[in-house]
Symmetry: C2
Subunit: 353 residues, 2 copies
């Protein structure tokens, strides 16, 4: 398989800077909302391989994207380990039984997990059957990010409960994070066997930690996962691994040392400066502000895309390779799909010039 995104990650010659968008399959698309309504609930949609395949492919039908990302959710792992998960409209995910004691950690069941997640692997095989040469990205949440949701029971403002665990019970926290890492390794190995071409680790909440806490409770587990999943796909080709810590711009030199092939950037950091910090053999992914995509007029979008592409190029010997264009976080629900179409074509056009 040869593609613009794999070539760019492998620092080979590209025709244009490849682009895909975090949460490119989602609520901003009317055709997604239709399927979501049909499925009855968000979790039903994740668990239905046929419908999950349809929504995975929807954005690729509309936009000239360079990769697909499997439609799923990071919380299917704790759900498959026995936690009861609900997605409450406008409130996000909720676990009715949060992790509060060591017994709760011991109760997390790894034995049945992969069998329960069979719907994910079935969706991957379906997608691969439909995608031809477009790479499919598989993913998982990071151990720390999953632990946050499992301890808080849902989203959180200050992560008081999760941090109470880390600060006051570091040994138990490590026990939970190790168990989650083992689960994620099994899950990603099976995703790779099922056919994904790239894997990505979403450390969505790593950026809420202090420097010391990030280096103790998040980064080592990202490294553990990278060390224990294959570096080649089921056909024996190189399989790139993307690591994204939102709010992790200060730790790029440390993230560079754990074995990632691509580092995801949020919009806080100047991508040209990131290019000078991250070793040249590691590609960069990012980093448009998702709010700009949602509400920006074309003039504003063009100005910022030009700046990002130019900043990368200038720091990379006037060469676009090694860059995967993306947002700095997921597509917002309020985004007009016409803006997405404009962005995708714009990135291709400006980077070809």
């Amino acid at each position: 398989m040869s593609s613009q995104i794999l070539n760019s990650i492998n620092h080979q010659k590209i025709e244009h800077t490849p682009i895909w968008l975090m949460r490119q399959a989602g609520r901003y698309l009317p055709e997604y909302r239709e399927i979501r309504a049909k499925a009855g609930s968000f979790l039903n949609l994740c668990k239905n391989p046929e419908l999950a395949t349809v929504v995975t492919l929807q954005p690729l039908k509309r936009f000239d994207l360079d990769a697909a990302i499997l439609f799923s959710d990071i919380l299917v792992i704790p759900e498959a380990m026995g936690m009861e998960l609900n997605f409450v409209e406008n409130e996000g995910p909720k676990f009715s039984n949060k992790i509060m004691t060591e017994q709760d950690i011991d109760n997390l069941d790894l034995n049945d997990m992969l069998a329960k997640l069979e719907y994910v692997f079935a969706a991957i095989k379906n997608c691969k059957g439909e995608l031809n040469s477009t790479p499919l990205i598989g993913f998982s949440g990071s151990p720390f990010t999953l632990a946050c949701y499992m301890i808080e029971g849902g989203s959180s403002k200050d992560y008081v409960n999760a941090k109470r665990w880390l600060y006051n019970n570091p040994e138990l926290s490590h026990k939970l994070l190790n168990k989650l890492s083992d689960a994620i390794i099994q899950y990603l190995i099976k995703q790779i066997e099922s056919g994904v071409d790239i894997v990505m680790l979403f450390d969505s909440w790593g950026g809420v930690l202090s420097d010391a806490a990030y280096l103790e409770f998040s980064l080592p587990y990202l490294e553990k996962i990278l060390k224990n999943i294959p570096q080649v796909n089921h056909l024996g080709s190189k399989l790139p691994r993307i690591v994204f810590t939102k709010g992790g711009g200060l730790w790029l030199n440390k993230i560079s040392a754990i074995g990632a092939d691509v580092i995801g950037l949020d919009w806080n950091i100047n991508i040209g400066e990131a290019r000078t910090i991250v070793p040249a053999n590691i590609a960069l992914q990012g980093n448009l502000d998702p709010v700009l995509l949602a509400i920006g007029d074309r003039n504003a979008l063009k100005k910022e895309v030009t700046r990002i592409l130019g900043s990368y190029r200038a720091a990379n010997g006037f060469n676009n390779t090694g860059h995967v264009f993306n947002l700095g976080h997921g597509v917002l629900q309020i985004t007009n799909p016409d803006n997405v179409a404009y962005l995708v074509d714009l990135v291709h056009e400006l980077s070809r010039a």
Copy 2:
């Protein structure tokens, strides 16, 4: 006036690392809640110089803090310019008339502003009369942070409305930010004339911006303010100016160039690394995670305080001077005051050793 905090900021010999805490006067203190109830509303409390003085001094009665910070709110400026402000219980500040058009900017009234803010200057004079040698910190929100609240009408998750202004209407945004800068300059000059010993600019939301947007819409206005307020107090002594952009760890080298005497750090950055980035003549303030203060046991608190003090010292030639201990953001409401007492004494004790 000589004090540990002024000595530390001026890189002179200190007996211990000085400490004060953002939002040290506030809802975590039962004696504050009593006065707040008496005042009827948060805004009434801000507008009553006698009661504002009482709550400013409350934490100094309990804890061995090295500075007082005037009890007030950053939103008194837009309120004094004619915007209708309410603090809704558990929802935070709300403006009933948000900034939506150029006419709304033109309607902001600078002429009566200082007269309306007389209660602030009266509270400063009261506090100074009570404080003896403990320095009093005056403050303002940054132009960008005030603009966020004024455009959003309150707090926000993604700052969609504020960013719509910045991205799609940069000229009008600059008009608003310039007008706010002028207001802040007048306000801080009057605070200084009234007797504050230190001033601090809170750029609480600068960290939600992209690198390019921060450099265009926040940093230049912080610089404009620093260039236009006195560098000496009403008695002719040096008056330090603290700049704090929450989430601004990636921009320390740029913040260092605008004329601040102290740079505030949130808890994301390693303070020792910050010390190597920021020129030696600029002091650093920070940077304990406020959640740790709220929920940490003594063992966890001691471990992290030891780490922060040690990290600073090691990067500063094994010398504590130039460091002002603080949190990386305000004291959380759920904080146990006993933890604050423990922290203040711990910082003093460990830094004396």
